[in-house]
Symmetry: C2
Subunit: 194 residues, 2 copies
């Protein structure tokens, strides 16, 4: 998506080489909702042939993007997986573990109430970033626990130099990334795959 | 807001007396985005006379509501305070502490990058619930640290039997709640203030 690439080039902040890309001026800390709606429309264009009964994401950065996507898909319910099991979500939940690749950070569980995923439904998974794919894998696991089907996984930015996207595609998951980054460094900036 | 009250009466799940109200079928776990847009429009109606340069909320439950509100206010930037200082938010941040009234839970810090709040701006704070007001107080503290002004605080549900709303109003904060709950119990259900 050209507008997204432009925005990443203009506003993205890189740390290290193939490490951190901050796009928190419009995507995941400060949010430009009108632009998120454009991303939502781009997901609809990519998954135009898919039945989408429900959108699943993970807190916190995925939520706004998933809500914008929902509008483009005719407002199916959006569900976000929680990272903490609060007393408000006590009761029957699907649980899955997210591996963490951040140094010193432990794996953590995510939770979705059994009330909000249903057998036979087609679920579109939405998130902001795809790197090692651990969050998407955990969400897919939860969709399968519920007896739902994964319609696909839509991410805003894929760090294509990390293995998550390839792993998921090899497993037969339809992954659509609105921008795919081949490499990035403070010296060279961001280089997109296409 | 009548539609909201109806929905709380129909879908809300109460635990204990004046304790937990779950509205996670449409507000803060599963989300009905079309309905959230109606809530956003209701906030605009309540704050129609206010200048709103920016909307501030807190992860995770506030995000979708704040994004829907943004649309009603002509798409000012939305910023969400983070509960964990990740490496993506390293650098200059405003910090404030949220007291926790949940048994056994410790106070926690919230963070907003200094890049995303600016002196002189009018900031509307949005959240899902107002009970003891600790999250709103922490957000207000951050707005003041930035030299911004609080345009007001809009919450979807106020538990009016808890002191947060009164405390904030006594401090001169304009608080608008789309539904105010006088009392609730498993026996009597939800009783609204008006």
């Amino acid at each position: 998506m050209e507008q997204l690439k432009k925005r990443i080039l203009k506003e993205g902040k890189i740390r290290g080489t193939n490490e951190i890309l901050k796009v928190d001026s419009f995507l995941n800390h400060q949010m430009d909702v009108a632009f998120l709606d454009e991303l939502g429309a781009a997901f609809k264009a990519r998954f135009a042939d898919c039945q989408v009964d429900r959108i699943l994401t993970i807190e916190a950065s995925g939520i706004a993007i998933a809500c914008s996507a929902a509008k483009a898909f005719g407002n199916p319910p959006v569900v976000f997986a929680k990272k903490n099991k609060t007393k408000n979500i006590a009761g029957d939940v699907y649980i899955s573990q997210v591996e963490s690749f951040t140094q010193g950070k432990r794996p953590y569980n995510i939770f979705v109430s059994k009330d909000f995923l249903h057998p036979g439904e087609k679920v579109l998974i939405i998130d902001d970033f795809l790197a090692n794919g651990s969050a998407l894998h955990a969400l897919i696991e939860i969709v399968h626990q519920a007896g739902s089907e994964v319609a696909g996984a839509g991410v805003v930015v894929e760090k294509a130099f990390q293995p998550g996207g390839s792993l998921l595609r090899n497993e037969g998951v339809r992954v659509e990334a609105l921008a795919r980054i081949q490499s990035m460094s403070e010296e060279t900036g961001v280089v997109f795959c296409d």
